[in-house]
């Protein structure tokens, strides 16, 4: 048996021990790569870490306070299609001539299941349950809540790679969307004397991947730095829909124009934060994030799902 045959056999054995979608960890769907968006979640389970995510935003108060958030999130696949995320954020709000509030927000976890990765159509679907755990934050400082919030959530991602060649300039576009129904475990805040509303949260992103343009549509000969850029616009909205007696039902939200630079092991993102109305904020803020691809950095350890289904290696999509 030749060395080549032995090498192929050894690799096949290694591959057979790995779940098929392991090789697609972080958000690859066919030729499409969905980056980890900063304000919303991408539609894939993955082994990733955001550290740190930092934002600054004037609060909607009068006069406005200056809010700074510093957060971290770790996402880990338990199986090839089921993952858990844990996130924590530290917040400081300085009011001019007034008090400064500071402390950790409630611990957030997300349990996510990958419903679909349709490579030819560049379509990804994921469902999950986000839980904000009450009493785990700085409740006394007015940062964390005493109650938990459960949010069944749906995530969708769709790349435009199937557009006809006449519209090839638009093939690098992709959209992602996220929608959840947020149910607090308490209906009334005794301290504030107000009802705690149930809300619908909906968000999304419109992305244009210069990496996709460079590798799948046309090589414009740009400097390599530009071939790693994904300009995008994100938006997040929240609307009270129930248990909001006596309060406003106005939708609050933000629009986040910005750009993500994607490398082999990490990505860096920077976005502006623009409130959609005075109830959301009183000025423009900024959001930045360093995001690490743990599956690429640690492919043999942390980058593997904890429990791997033993399936044969993926068949190549064509011969050769």
């Amino acid at each position: 048996m030749s060395c080549t045959v032995l090498r192929v056999a050894a690799l096949a054995i290694v591959l057979a021990g790995l779940p098929v979608s392991n090789a697609l960890a972080h958000c690859f769907v066919g030729a499409r790569f969905f980056p980890a968006t900063l304000a919303t979640d991408d539609p894939c389970v993955a082994d990733e870490m955001s550290l740190p995510t930092v934002d600054y935003l004037p609060t909607p108060d009068t006069p406005p306070g200056k809010q700074v958030d510093i957060g971290a999130e770790v996402s880990k696949r338990i199986t090839a299609d089921f993952g858990v995320s844990i996130a924590e954020t530290w917040t400081q709000i300085r009011f001019p001539g007034g008090p400064t509030l500071a402390g950790f927000n409630n611990l957030e976890t997300s349990f996510q299941y990958q419903l679909l990765k349709d490579a030819p159509h560049q379509l990804a679907l994921m469902v999950g349950l986000n839980v904000e755990w009450g009493g785990t934050g700085a409740t006394n400082a007015g940062i964390g809540d005493s109650f938990s919030t459960l949010s069944p959530t749906l995530w969708v991602g769709w790349g435009f790679g199937e557009l006809p060649d006449q519209l090839s300039w638009a093939q690098p576009f992709a959209v992602t969307a996220e929608a959840s129904y947020d149910v607090p475990t308490s209906s009334f805040d005794l301290a504030a004397g107000a009802f705690i509303p149930q809300t619908v949260s909906w968000s999304g992103s419109l992305q244009y991947s210069l990496a996709y343009l460079h590798a799948n549509v046309i090589d414009l000969g740009l400097p390599d730095f530009f071939n790693h850029l994904i300009p995008l616009v994100e938006a997040t909205f929240q609307t009270p829909v129930a248990n909001n007696f006596g309060n406003s039902y106005v939708t609050t939200g933000f629009v986040y124009p910005g750009v993500i630079w994607v490398g082999s092991y990490f990505q860096v993102g920077l976005e502006a934060i623009i409130p959609i109305n005075k109830e959301s904020g009183s000025g423009i803020g900024v959001l930045g994030q360093l995001h690490l691809y743990l599956d690429d950095m640690f492919p043999n350890t942390f980058g593997q799902p904890l429990i791997g289904a033993r399936t044969p290696p993926a068949k190549l999509p064509f011969g050769g």
Partner: protein, 119 residues
Amino acid sequence: MRRLVAASSALFLLFGFDAAWAHAFLDHAEPRVGSSVAAAPRQLSLWFTQDLEPAFSTVEVQNSAGARVDQGKPRIGPANVMRVGLKPLPPGTYRVLWHALSVDTHTTEGSFSFHVGSH
């Protein structure tokens, strides 16, 4: 914040950072992605950003009718380049479909077109 920094530092120390492995992206190609070339190329070359596993990395070139016009087995050479020979190509548009497996078992795929002759 100390908790976050300590946790992330421990993660790096525990698992070590394998700096040579990642998904293999297409860096560039010859003929170039989306280009028009006057003369028919004799081979297609694809340069990737990571080392490839030859047995599980491949490429196919199709004409506008979907018929294969590549010939011979793709070869993986130094500098992460994959090459495949091409049959004599009459003027027309050709589609390249590639599938790569990097040495850490991450798969990537992509496709692009190039044109032979005047547009």
